[in-house]
Subunit: 139 residues, 2 copies
DNA sequence: GTATGTGCAAAACCTTTGCAGGTTA
DNA sequence: TAACCTGCAAAGGTTTTGCACATAC
């Protein structure tokens, strides 16, 4: 889903389209590196010098609740965010702290709505390890 | 793997078997509810009134590094721990904040050591949703 | 004009660190 | 005794909250 489609959906659902919300969503659209809140905040601050961390947190939470972005809890005590909401695996390198998208086909839970009587609302398939770049650095 | 086997393994690998380490591992062995650090700390404090949070954190990190327990980052900003280290899915209820084990067979990554050139060291298949108990409470 | 959103600062919370004192081999 | 471990307190880092001001419908 492209940026305008998401902005339109947000608007149609009755959410005020503020400059800050536009900026956060646009930033995630243009930066598919699974940035942390801190990264998002400091990047936006370059354009919007008065934006506050509280607004960034509020906005990310709001966009997540509208189902327009995805929260990633793969790194201990730190949030990452992803513009792409379609289910896909995330790989976290514990050496460089980068999050990568990886493509895995044949998930046995694909399309399932329930498991053991629990209602499935979101899949978070995480993988931890050492990424290809860090493997090369190994010394 | 039962408690004595893990304690033996810890000892054989050259790790000092202190009362605190024994207590943390034993607590996880007897409480398979994926407790948070806080829950572990306050529970152990009932028996060992002088135990400190730093020791609990250190011990959990140490046991994790020995591969004897599993760290769960499913809840935003909070760590849970699991005595069971065999790969299995975890379900997190965002309503009651409980973590459940769920059994999923046919993971396409089972046994794989690499993906996209990245070295897989740990799988964390997380599912978020509303648990069966909270679905009943719905009102 | 009322409801909603933002920015600032402080608070709350979780985790890590430094170090003195205690324990283990 | 030398190495390691624990407990306490403080520090560090992330996220949340409260409230005055600003903005939107």
């Amino acid at each position: 889903m492209n940026l305008n489609e998401k902005l339109t959906e947000l608007n149609e659902k009755g959410c005020t389209l503020t400059i800050q919300r536009h900026a956060v969503l646009e930033y995630l659209y243009e930066n598919r590196t699974h940035p942390t809140v801190e990264k998002i905040y400091y990047s936006l601050k370059e354009k919007f010098s008065t934006i506050s961390k509280a607004t960034v947190y509020n906005t990310l939470e709001l966009l997540k609740n509208y189902g327009l972005i995805q929260e990633i809890t793969i790194e201990k005590g730190k949030l990452h965010f992803d513009y792409e909401v379609k289910p896909h695996h995330h790989f976290f390198c514990h050496r460089c702290n980068h999050v990568y998208d990886v493509d895995v086909v044949g998930c046995p839970l694909a399309g399932k709505k329930m498991i053991d009587g629990h209602k499935i609302e979101e899949m978070r398939p995480y993988i931890i390890g050492t990424c290809s770049k860090c493997l090369k650095k190994k010394g």
